[in-house]
Amino acid sequence: MTQAQQHLPMLEARDITLKFGGVTALANISIDIGHQELVALIGPNGAGKSSLLNVLSGFYRPSEGSVRFEGKNIGRWPVHLVAQAGLARTFQGTHLLPHMSVLDNIMVGRYMHMKSSLTTAFFYYPFAHREELAHRAVAEEILSFLELEHLRHHPVGTLGYGMRKRVDLGRALAMEPRMLLLDEPMAGMNVEEKEDLARFILDIRESRQIPVVLVEHDMGVVMDIADRVIVLNFGRKIADASPAVVQQDQQVIAAYLGVHA
């Protein structure tokens, strides 16, 4: 990375508009995400937070506007190419394979980096064997990072919700992303699980030095860990500033409390 690139935002979304028929989900939204930033995306229900995340990760095509990730215009790329470019995400709820073990679920995240074909893997060529070992080593590192070693061989379906969310995060990490998008990682968790996950998110940012974008409802968590907060309301961006500033913003207060500003 050159010095010049360091100063540019890693991800730039310009004038994103997203329409479903006559409904405008997102209207003219522009955001930048810098290197190593921890950005929270908040807003009342239906504000368009998940839609924006889906646009950034390539699940929705924006009706207008562009998304540039590390200088490449990824706005219209198919999902798997966006993932290969280094953008990993987790979903609201969990999209895991319940009958497979924690380890296997995380290994799925390595798929993108695997080179051996079905045939070479089936006949277990020496290079396929070596590759498997290397991927397993990465997966084990993630298990140890997320403190999941003891559940390595447990089927994901038998785990509690909080643990499943952690596995989901592990799978996203297995992709070795250069940017991580988390969609409501703490929904439905108790306070202790939230604290654990907040700790992991901070640790990810610190150890991997990658930016993290997080959609979250829990204001306490957001205000504690985010460097910057972007607030959406009815598909529009109404604030984009540090947590302290956002907390004082009249428009934000109005959006949350329903008072006319």
Partner: protein
């Protein structure tokens, strides 16, 4: 002093010895990334060398103090040996020590360097660094959360080992030379006492003492070389220092470390350890796990397991009592073993366990018998950090009532070991490597000595055979009778409560009385069912408690416990209380501890009747009902007598 000057005199010398004679053999295993990673003795020596040179590079001197704060893992052992290699002494702290405890030890031991496992431990130490002038180095080995920590004295594992390179290049033999300067009388450790009575004290432990104790453990248990051992007892305990660290070196054993502290049970099973040490609570929880798993099983499988355990009990009860085994039990045992007992041992990871310990407190005889039925004999072990190993169950049989056979074997270290009972009933010892004193507290050390004898402060008695001891209580907790005989109420009550028929019991006896008596609160539910099976009719608890059949049964339970007691401390009379002891009436605390003074006053007439040797007496007790009304309970209470044991029975 060892007679043979060629044998290693310190732990690091043993390490060099093993690295030379067993260089490729597996010394340690650590489960990382789901796989057991192996370290040979040569690997361990190389790791220890780097650490030792790192310590030297940081200016740690001979006889200074290095503190360890970590869960058990190979690096913890390496750090200990590295510090000892350069002649420094080691203090191992519990990983969950509080900041105040760490602060106290850093000051008391004048620590200069700390090995801290991870962020949790580093966070405890760093704020203290400025407070302790001599403290200059902290080394961590788990980077999680520490990426952005910056401090001139804080080193990551790899950075710390890198400090060794210039010295290694310049003076290749320094490490070996430093080790050869070590002598058996050098201080290896300070073992801090728990500090339940006053401030914690650091027990000075020399290499000689470690080697002496490990040798005695090795001799009494006849452990084979290469024996499999899982290290999970904290290094701050003398036990782990004797067994894992020292015996592991001199036998040598293969010492393994679980992936996480909560993975110990799985690790024991995977390794099929030959030696297992658990506290009584852990054995109880294992037994509870067996019961819980059985409840989930279909009824026919439960019956098979019950049958197998029943056969196991009959066949192996010999180890407990002198009951003869019937011939058909001998015939069925192999079948029961194949169907039930062996799979149970396998599930609990005890398949190869030959030497299985418990210690610290009394284990209920039921738990002892359950494991004995499975074919696993629990052995009690007893010792203290000041003087070392004192007793351990040896041979093929273990009596759960005793704390084991005296393990004062002759050895090349020091005078022959001797023991005696002080008039107070306290155990006193001398000989061996002895008690070297508390660190920086000569007056406290002097208090422990009675001339040449070391006072353990534990009141013990002799078991059924001369060489076994029974632990009663701390000397200061013993009660006294008129004749000057001492006894422990606690000891008798705990043993009696192990009986399923007895829910609570209070033992009475003080300097104004000549003998010991007991107030028994029978277990109404158990006796209720028992009475139904025996065809004994009863109406209320009061009625049930005074039935002659039940008095006989309670008397026989007490007689069992009496066998383990010295003649003067045996219970002579007892009464069954006509009502249950109740916290609402102030007879028990909310945590179900006896309120002795109140009970003694309330049931005073029963106590007098026992000491007056009456056959029965009448009592009136005011009681309060749950709805707030009060009434009076009137009952005739019979006094039970315990038949005196003949000498044969003893």
């Amino acid at each position: 002093m060892s007679a043979d000057s060629l044998t290693p005199q310190t732990l690091p010398q043993w390490l060099l010895h093993n690295a030379a004679n067993h260089s490729d053999e597996v010394a340690q295993r650590y489960k990382r990334n789901g796989i057991w990673q192996e370290f040979s003795w040569a690997d361990v020596r190389d790791e220890v060398r780097e650490l030792a040179l790192g310590l030297r590079a940081r200016g740690v001197q001979r006889s200074q103090t290095v503190v360890l704060m970590s869960e058990n893992r190979p690096e913890l052992y390496w750090a200990e040996w590295a510090a000892q290699a350069i002649g420094a002494k080691v203090v191992a702290l519990y990983p969950d020590a509080t900041e105040a405890e760490v602060d106290y030890v850093l000051k008391d031991a004048q620590a200069v360097c700390v090995f801290a496992e991870d962020q949790e431990q580093v966070d405890k130490v760093m704020p203290l660094m400025s407070r302790h002038a001599g403290m200059h180095t902290v080394v961590w080995w788990e980077s999680g959360g520490l990426w952005s920590y910056r401090h001139e004295g804080l080193f990551g594992w790899d950075d710390f080992k890198a400090l060794a390179q210039p010295i290694a290049a310049e003076d290749a033999l320094w490490f070996e030379q430093a080790i050869h300067q070590g002598q058996s009388q050098d201080i290896a450790l300070l073992l801090y006492t728990s500090g339940t009575t006053g401030e914690p004290k650091g027990v000075i432990t020399t290499h000689a003492s470690l080697l002496h104790n490990a040798e005695r453990i090795g001799q009494t248990l006849q452990l084979p070389p290469g024996c499999e051992y899982l290290s999970y007892i904290p290094l701050s305990w003398a036990t782990e220092q004797w067994v894992g660290v020292t015996l592991g070196l001199i036998r040598p054993m293969r010492v393994s470390f679980a992936e996480r502290p909560d993975q110990i049970q799985e690790a024991i099973r995977e390794l099929a350890c030959e030696m297992v040490f658990f506290g009584p609570r852990q054995w109880e929880s294992l037994a509870a796990r067996v019961h819980a798993r059985m409840l989930d099983a279909p009824p026919w499988r439960q019956r098979v397991v019950d049958w197998g355990l029943h056969i196991g009990r009959l066949a192996r009860s010999e180890q407990m009592d002198t009951a003869r085994r019937p011939w058909w039990v001998r015939l069925l045992l192999p079948l029961a073993d194949a169907l039930v007992l062996r799979p149970l041992r396998d599930q609990l990871g005890l398949l190869r366990a030959r030497i299985v310990f418990t210690g610290g407190a009394a284990v209920a005889p039921d738990i002892f018998r359950l494991f004995a039925a499975m074919g696993v004999m629990l052995r009690n072990v007893y010792g203290c950090s000041e003087f070392g190993l004192i007793t351990v169950h040896q041979g093929e049989q273990a009596n759960p009532e005793t704390i084991g056979h005296l393990a004062l074997l002759p050895s090349a270290w020091g005078e022959p070991m001797q023991w005696r009972l002080a008039p107070t009933g306290g155990l006193e010892l001398r000989g061996g490597t002895g008690f070297a004193g508390y660190w920086g507290k000569p007056e406290k050390s002097a208090e422990k000595m009675n001339g040449e004898w070391f006072q353990t402060g534990d009141a013990v008695g002799q078991g059924p055979n001369e060489t076994e001891l029974i632990y009663y209580d701390r000397v200061e907790h013993m009660s006294c009778l008129k004749g000057g005989h001492t006894f422990s109420k606690q000891f008798i009550e705990v043993r009696l409560r192990f009986s399923p028929y007895i829910r609570e019991v209070m033992v009475v006896g003080d300097p104004s009385r000549e003998c010991v008596t007991a107030l028994v609160n029978i277990d109404g539910d158990v006796f209720g069912r028992w009475a139904e099976l025996q065809g004994v009719s009863f109406t209320t608890f009061t009625d049930l408690s005074q039935r002659p059949e039940i008095l006989t049964q309670v008397a026989s339970e007490i007689a069992q416990v009496n066998r383990t007691l010295p003649e003067a401390a045996r219970i002579t009379h007892f009464v069954n209380l006509p009502k249950e002891l109740d916290a609402d009436e102030g007879e028990l605390t909310r945590t179900r501890k006896l309120k002795r003074d109140f009970i003694e006053q309330r049931y005073g007439c029963l106590i007098e009747a026992m000491y007056a040797n009456q056959a029965k007496t009448a009592i009136e007790i005011p009681i309060r009902y749950q709805d707030g009304r009060s009434g009076v309970l009137r009952a005739d209470v019979a006094v039970g007598r315990i038949p005196q044991l003949s000498l044969q029975e003893n």
